[in-house]
């Protein structure tokens, strides 16, 4: 059931209607049933996958909680009789048990994700090697990838790691844990919420709050505007350019790159607006996933502002644990002795960064395109980190850092750099992606933009007008957001202006939205991850 389908709108109306009419204590139970019904529509077998993940996470969570209780009780009962060394040894034994359970849970849940998502990718690579040695190829397996599996698996992994670390108590009610994992607005494309951020607001009783409801509805409308008016309109040109690299090279690669940046932004942030908006209509607070990323002045800043919950997930559960684990600290120590302070202290950071970005790429999809994309992101971040002293010297010599012109240059540079890396999202393989990137420099002919070719990409003049106006509105909203919430600002205006803005937004979706006859209902890009 796509967010953009009529079925979903009907489903949502029923859920919200029931949510505020049934007794408050049943609200979270209703959301749990609704989430499973929502997921059922994407395939009944998906329910089995998610249920197995929920049950395994629940059981291990309870086990970890019991071990913790056992430790506290034992230490209390033997407070007087145990020596500090014995206490330490006992704690260590329990710690080892906890880590074993954690590892079991992670391997099990990650194993499900790995099998359904990466088996055919592995087979394709094995077959490539087999053909080199003229061996028989393996057959591909027919596995359905459950929608949103990468998102909910990461949610459960974050939960169980935090429980093991003692950050919070495990959830005792399996239904409540199931709701955290499957909460329907964020089930298929995030944000990847943390249990301690979401659970309180998810389980508590909510009374109807007109302002909160209106703000949530407005945000949902804004999300639909971005998705249906902009993303689903411009996608035609993106596909035309990227699926026909033999026809569209040179300047068209640049055009495709920029169009794809617009599509991806409108699609993903639009989807998240719908998610957060629906949650707000239900009185639930979901973590923000974007902070005007296209205004970033560096790639590091961009990744702090784009898909924030994924970035912080990788930072907290992979980058930090890997960088500060004992073997890595030992590597750091020995490499300092061997290669000197400057190089030695960089090695843990380099190894962890490359591992994180390799994993980030792999998380996005089972293809070399995504792996190379991830690794290139890591390399660019490390190179810019190395250039930091050079930048500092430049800023010392030329006092331009705070000028509008230089900031604008940095924003455009970051936008183009990130858009260049995203070429790997679009083309069929890594080779074509690099060839197309190269053609921007070797076959650049700006005149091609003015010979009517832009109107042969599946967009006519009216489409361009709608997209340009849509993009101007998106940029304007982002600029206004710098000084606070746009909805709060609109709420402060006279009633006639308030209603005019939202009626206009509503009708612009109805009139200019790319749906109905002649348009395929497009999945959100991040649904496939």
């Amino acid at each position: 059931m796509l967010f953009t389908s009529y079925e979903f709108i009907l489903f949502l109306c029923i859920v919200i209607g029931l949510y505020y009419t049934i007794p408050k204590r049943f609200q979270w139970k209703l959301l749990l049933v609704a989430s499973f019904v929502f997921y059922y529509f994407s395939g009944w077998s998906n329910l089995i996958y998610i249920s197995v993940t929920i049950v395994s996470t629940y059981l291990v969570g309870v086990k970890l909680g019991n071990l913790d209780k056992q430790q506290k009780l034992y230490l209390k009962e033997h407070k007087e009789s145990l020596t500090p060394e014995e206490k330490k040894a006992y704690k260590e034994r329990i710690k080892v048990k906890r880590w074993r359970w954690l590892l079991l849970c992670l391997i099990f849940n990650l194993g499900i994700l790995a099998v359904v998502k990466y088996t055919n990718f592995a087979i394709a690579n094995i077959n490539y090697i087999f053909t080199l040695f003229k061996m028989n190829e393996l057959s591909f397996v027919n596995l359905i990838l459950p929608m949103g599996i990468s998102f909910y698996t990461f949610k459960t992994m974050g939960y169980i790691i935090d429980v093991c670390r003692g950050k919070y108590e495990p959830e005792k009610n399996i239904g409540k844990l199931a709701l955290f994992v499957s909460f329907f607005p964020q089930l298929i494309q995030g944000p990847i919420s943390r249990f301690d951020d979401l659970s309180k607001s998810l389980y508590e009783e909510h009374h109807f709050d007109a302002k909160n409801f209106a703000f949530g509805f407005q945000r949902v409308l804004w999300g639909y505007f971005k998705k249906l008016v902009i993303a689903d309109r411009i996608v035609a040109a993106v596909l035309e350019i990227t699926k026909n690299p033999e026809t569209y090279d040179g300047i068209f690669v640049l055009v495709g790159m920029i169009y794809y940046a617009i599509q991806l932004y409108a699609d993903f942030t639009g989807g998240i607006d719908i998610t957060i908006g629906i949650a707000q209509m239900l009185g639930i607070t979901v973590t923000e996933n974007f902070n005007r990323p296209f205004f970033s002045k560096s790639i590091t800043e961009y990744w702090r502002r784009w898909h924030i919950t994924m970035g912080t997930w990788f930072r907290d559960y992979i980058f930090y644990p890997l960088s500060v684990c004992k073997p890595m600290l030992n590597i750091s120590k020995s490499s300092r002795k061997r290669f000197g302070e400057e190089i030695g202290k960089r090695i843990p950071v380099y190894l962890s960064t490359i591992t994180v970005w390799f994993t980030t790429g792999l998380w996005h999809g089972a293809s070399w395109n995504f792996i190379v994309w991830g690794l290139l992101n890591g390399v660019v971040i490390l190179v810019s980190q190395e250039f930091e002293p050079l930048y500092a010297k430049f800023h010392e010599r030329f006092n331009v850092a705070n000028t509008f012109g230089f900031k604008l240059f940095q924003v455009i540079r970051t936008f183009l750099l990130m858009s260049s890396l995203r070429i790997l999202d679009c083309y069929r393989d890594v080779g074509v992606s690099f060839r197309m990137f190269g053609s921007m420099f070797t076959k650049l002919n700006i005149n091609e933009l003015f010979n009517g070719s832009l109107l042969k990409l599946g967009l006519d003049v009216s489409d361009y007008v709608v997209i340009i106006i849509g993009v101007i509105i998106m940029i304007s909203v982002s600029l206004v957001q710098r000084s606070g919430s746009v909805r709060e600002k609109i709420a402060g205006k006279p009633v006639i202006i308030r209603y005019a803005v939202f009626v206009l937004l509503f009708f612009s979706i109805i009139v200019f939205g790319a749906y109905g006859i002649g348009f395929d209902s497009n999945q959100f890009i991040y649904n496939q991850f």
Binding site: T300, L329, K333
Partner: protein, 76 residues
């Protein structure tokens, strides 16, 4: 404390670590800095700061970080 201030000062000489109380919130220390600090602390104090102790509360100021190091040393 002297040693810790020395470690921090090597990373960001422009910052007065004795008075600054929002090193994470003000984005002065990034994740690369934190990893470097942990490696240095491990080297000079012989204390391993585990990943779950990397929180804004523990890294927002030199004094909070020093308290964390002391606590971990006591636990050892």
């Amino acid at each position: 404390m002297e040693t810790l201030l020395e470690i921090l000062g090597e990373l960001h000489p422009e910052i007065d670590f004795e008075t600054h109380k929002s090193l994470i919130d003000d984005k002065i220390l990034d994740s690369f800095d934190i990893v470097t600090i942990i490696a240095e602390v491990n080297d000079r104090y012989g204390v391993a700061i585990p990943a779950h102790e990397i929180t804004p509360e523990n890294f927002n100021s030199a004094s909070a970080l020093y308290e964390l190091i002391q606590r971990l040393m006591d636990e050892d």
